[in-house]
Symmetry: C2
Subunit: 286 residues, 2 copies
């Protein structure tokens, strides 16, 4: 028997569309209902065979679903859960793909009526592209998916979500929401803050009355690619994961100040040791 | 008539070897002599047809050369120029590929005997690989090469070096040494300092008693690739371009502190504007 009878996906873009594709490919779902605001995108999703049908109304769309996946911008997840909560079928499992969990999981748990279940999730996958046409079945293959169960999480609901991501090809890791938010602050949010600052600093350096960014070569361009990411999305992430982002920014600043001190002192041994430790750390994850 | 009769290349690795290959391909040189300390590498360079012959002794190697290209580590360039200076043929032009110019150009100019000429240079090209086997003729194609002539620079010598890099496919840009050192501090040295610090900070975060680097995904790995660069080389660069590197680190820190302030205040408009300015800057150089 398929894992999911009726899957409702709210937000049929790269994230939602790719999950739909792989679950259908694996025969893990009987019917997929797409929910969104852009009818052209939803029509396209039906044409592509990504979803079976769609609804512009979330309340109607989740009707009878045994699993709801929220793939909307992270700042809209709580409002969306509040909206669909009264319409959920008994036993329905609601999960999300938001990149911040601390601000989301507890409110969502409170919003759901008894007999329906929330499981916070975050697949660590994506590309620079967006929209259902960018979605593909292999997006989650070999990637990590973090789930953040709490003391309130239903065991059966958790197992269903774990199984879903395993079928998508992901390695599922469970951790508490606080750890999740710090881990992603460190490996994703901090690098974005650093890249955005770096590009603005170099672009703002006007000592020679010309934009020295024009001299940048491939290395700089590769390093700063993430500074092209969507400003509104990163505004929301910075606001919603504020505490962890600040903690990681301060932690980074300590190391950066330590390195500055070595440069200022002209400490060759200290510099080489600092760079060698970093190279060792970096090579270990390549 | 070929541009160069006898080209002596000191350091036949990625940089020196690639220049040799393209100049030979263009028919711009009659004879190429390789100079280095590793005989196996030099033998390999002869086998590959990159150089015609080699010498382990720089003094013997530069004999009769009309152009000498120094492709050794940046901290050894001044010593090498001092060593070869007495052996240079009249009219010989000496140029280099070092990534720092302020500490190098004036001393090298002073070391050369009358009737021989120094031209500081820096081709903005490279890969993570090294050694003559990694060299290829197209390395400089479409890349910038910065030359740093001074009031002492001989016009004919400068024209010869400009022509050489043009034949290699580079876009030649001339600027003074101070500007060069600040431009490369901004677009290359600063990103390295940031990447090295970021990897050490994330690798050093031990609040959860495990190395959270293990959760890093493709984005983090792409962003921190340059933190795998050679520690000894970057120690030398940080020491030799100390003043400009410190200036750029401080300049970056101001922007990073400004962003931190926006996050702390929860200033959504300010955050989005900061990220949007960065995206605009970044997209302009893609």
């Amino acid at each position: 028997m398929p894992l999911i009878q009726r899957l409702a996906i709210i937000g049929v873009g790269l994230i939602g569309g790719s999950l739909a594709r792989i679950l259908r490919e694996k025969g893990a779902v009987v019917e997929i209902v797409g929910i969104g605001r852009g009818e052209a995108n939803l029509r396209k999703a039906v044409e592509l065979g990504v979803i079976d049908r769609y609804s512009l109304d979330p309340v109607a769309g989740v009707e009878g679903a045994d699993l709801v996946f929220l793939a909307t911008p992270v700042c809209s997840i709580i409002d969306m859960v509040a909206r669909i909560a009264p319409a959920l079928a008994p036993g329905c499992v609601v999960t999300d793909g938001g990149s911040v969990k601390g601000e989301i999981v507890a409110p969502c748990e409170k919003l759901l009526p008894p007999g329906t279940f929330f499981v916070g999730g975050h697949p660590i996958a994506g590309t620079e592209k967006s929209g259902v046409e960018a979605s593909f079945a292999a997006l989650y293959q070999g990637k990590r998916c973090i789930l953040t169960p709490t003391a309130q999480t239903d065991g059966e609901a958790l197992r269903k979500v774990v199984r879903m991501w395993e079928l998508a090809g992901s390695e599922v890791v469970c951790m508490d929401v606080e750890k999740h938010d710090r881990v992603v602050a460190a490996i994703s949010h901090l690098p974005h803050m650093v890249a955005y600052s770096l590009v603005n600093a170099v672009g703002g350096y006007d000592r020679f009355s010309e934009n020295i960014l024009k001299y940048s070569a491939g290395g700089f361009r590769d390093f700063t690619r993430i500074a092209s990411s969507d400003p509104a999305m990163w505004r929301d992430i910075a606001l919603m994961n504020r505490e962890a982002v600040l903690e990681m920014m301060d932690f980074f600043s300590e190391y950066f100040a330590g390195l500055r001190n070595l440069v200022e002192k002209g400490d060759g041994h200290g510099l080489e040791a600092f760079f060698a430790r970093s190279k060792q750390n970096r090579d270990a994850i390549s």
